[in-house]
Symmetry: C2
Subunit: 331 residues, 2 copies
């Protein structure tokens, strides 16, 4: 292989992301310098944060530059190495982006064990989404035995891990998701105590029925009406881990109408970005890996085939069409 494919950001979206925002290109595989390694990516991770990077608006991160390889987490195999710390055949998780191959000096790469844990899981439940769930639960929500934990986007990569961690902590786990199929999965396969289908049109009443003792902790991925409704059910001293605001990714305003409840329930809310807490990753990934290997954490993947499928897969993810962790299989 002397050439590989990659996808660059061709233009910034106005509102919803469209396929024309991306461009597939061919690139030369570069010759390695001393201290570098070449990785052939097996899986590309698609995640909601990508929508934020595509905009020029001020965010916590620099925007994705135009005409450069789209950012993204990857897992792949070392196929050539001039780096003493990495051998051909080893698997590494990194940030090579929407590309079939990547060259690195080794910084930021994480060797992964593909024995007990499948390679793809290192982009999901034992990767960034899993760490996000773990960090929010351990460092912000810290639910006590018997408390009620509510998580939105419950069938997603982060949400599904949050609810299962809540169950393992002896809590009542209640999900919010879009559609009957996702809710059934969350309850029947992941073991949540209940799941509310926000598309069914009775969000407030259904959430009240699912949380008879109120809500003690909210893991928020969506924002907007879903978050306001959950806020309305909070008990005194509830905690909120604010992880994402999917409802606002298209630029829509998503006010918190129930602001008074923040005071009335004496809420502690914290917004967080898990990549700013890399010091916690070894502990968190070790915990999550152990649970996956022991069969105590289940996960589901939506896998689209081939790099060229990535734009449509991301658009689907942003519309909630995926079911579980969204990946692109490159090999």
């Amino acid at each position: 292989m002397t050439k590989y494919q990659r996808i660059v950001l061709a233009s910034r979206p106005r509102g919803a992301v469209v396929p024309e925002n991306f461009r597939l290109e061919e690139a030369e595989v570069p010759a390695l310098a001393e201290g570098q390694l070449l990785v052939r990516n097996h899986y590309l991770s698609l995640d909601p944060y990508m929508r934020g990077r595509m905009s020029e608006a001020k965010s916590y991160a620099v925007p994705q530059p135009l005409d450069e390889t789209m950012i993204g987490g990857t897992v792949g195999e070392v196929v050539e190495s001039r780096h003493p710390g990495f051998a051909v055949g080893e698997f590494v998780a990194g940030m090579f982006g929407w590309a079939e191959m990547g060259v690195s000096g080794g910084a930021g790469l994480r060797k992964v064990d593909t024995g007990a844990i499948p390679a793809s899981a290192h982009l999901g439940v034992v990767g960034m989404p899993g760490m996000t769930a773990w960090y929010g639960m351990h460092e912000i929500l810290r639910p006590a035995l018997g408390e009620t934990v509510v998580v939105s986007a419950a069938s997603g990569a982060v949400g599904s891990a949050v609810g299962q961690l809540a169950k393992l902590a002896g809590c009542r786990a209640v999900g919010i998701a879009g559609g009957r199929a996702k809710c059934d999965y969350v309850v029947q396969e992941l073991g949540f105590d209940a799941c509310v289908d926000y598309k069914a049109g009775n969000l407030k009443a259904d959430l009240a029925a699912a949380t008879p003792d109120g809500i003690d902790a909210i893991f928020e991925n969506v924002g907007g009406e879903v978050f306001d409704t959950a806020l309305g059910r909070t008990n005194a001293f509830a905690r909120v881990a604010l992880c994402g605001l999917l409802a606002g990714y298209t630029g829509a305003e998503i006010p918190i109408r129930n602001a008074k409840k923040l005071l009335l329930s004496r809420i502690m809310l914290r917004g967080f970005i898990v990549t700013e807490h890399m010091d916690m990753w070894p502990q968190g990934l070790s915990d999550m890996g152990r649970l996956v290997a022991a069969g105590k954490l289940k996960y589901r993947e939506s896998i689209s085939q081939g790099l060229a499928s990535a734009p449509d897969a991301l658009i689907g993810l942003l519309q909630g069409r995926n079911f579980g962790k969204q990946l692109v299989k490159l090999i």
Copy 2:
């Protein structure tokens, strides 16, 4: 004296509080049982939380009952005692409400030193409002040297203490208040670095000019547009102590329009009620008392004369007409 005056809640306000919501009554001074003491109140404290109690709406506290003495903090002198722990002539702070006298079994009373600190200050900067400022600063905002702290209702009992504590901690203290006179007071007499007059019509630009390095900590007493504007200036990892939402006390909806900023700035926000943290009061009151006695904490009082003036004084407080801690002098 065999009779005393008190004010009861006659009806619940619909929207703004009106004088007709109250009724002045005469009551018999009861005979003391063994273990009781009789206090003649010198000062009654008026505070924004009273508006919340006047409503029947679910809150963190039970509503003020109709036809009973309005709730309120008081400081007064023991005039008769059958309690071994209290002697005639001692001063106590308590919650005797809108009444000239009160009988107590001693629980919840706090003996106060009126030597180095005037009696009225035990209802203000060395009382509940001062504790509120102290708790928010010490337990939630914890500003580091050189950080910018913004406080709304800056000339009020809580806000004025917050800004001065921020200065003592080596921070840039920026107030938000209504009107030129209050802002001048906050800067010239209390030593804040800047104060923005939200009534001047340029809140956003004026706050930007007053916070050139952004905002690291917000002590929020008001909510609504004032809070949204401050949120818009937050730096990464800013903290918010949510103490009151004056803007919403009349029942108006006060959405947080800038919800995305909670995530973008990775904000830690906590709503709190200082009376739920009584374990911290001894340390806080000792700190605040020492600062007042040493002349390092200034405060201002708005004193209205006589129990009958309390309803108008509370209405004025809720409209921002007071200037400093609002008290009613009963003797």
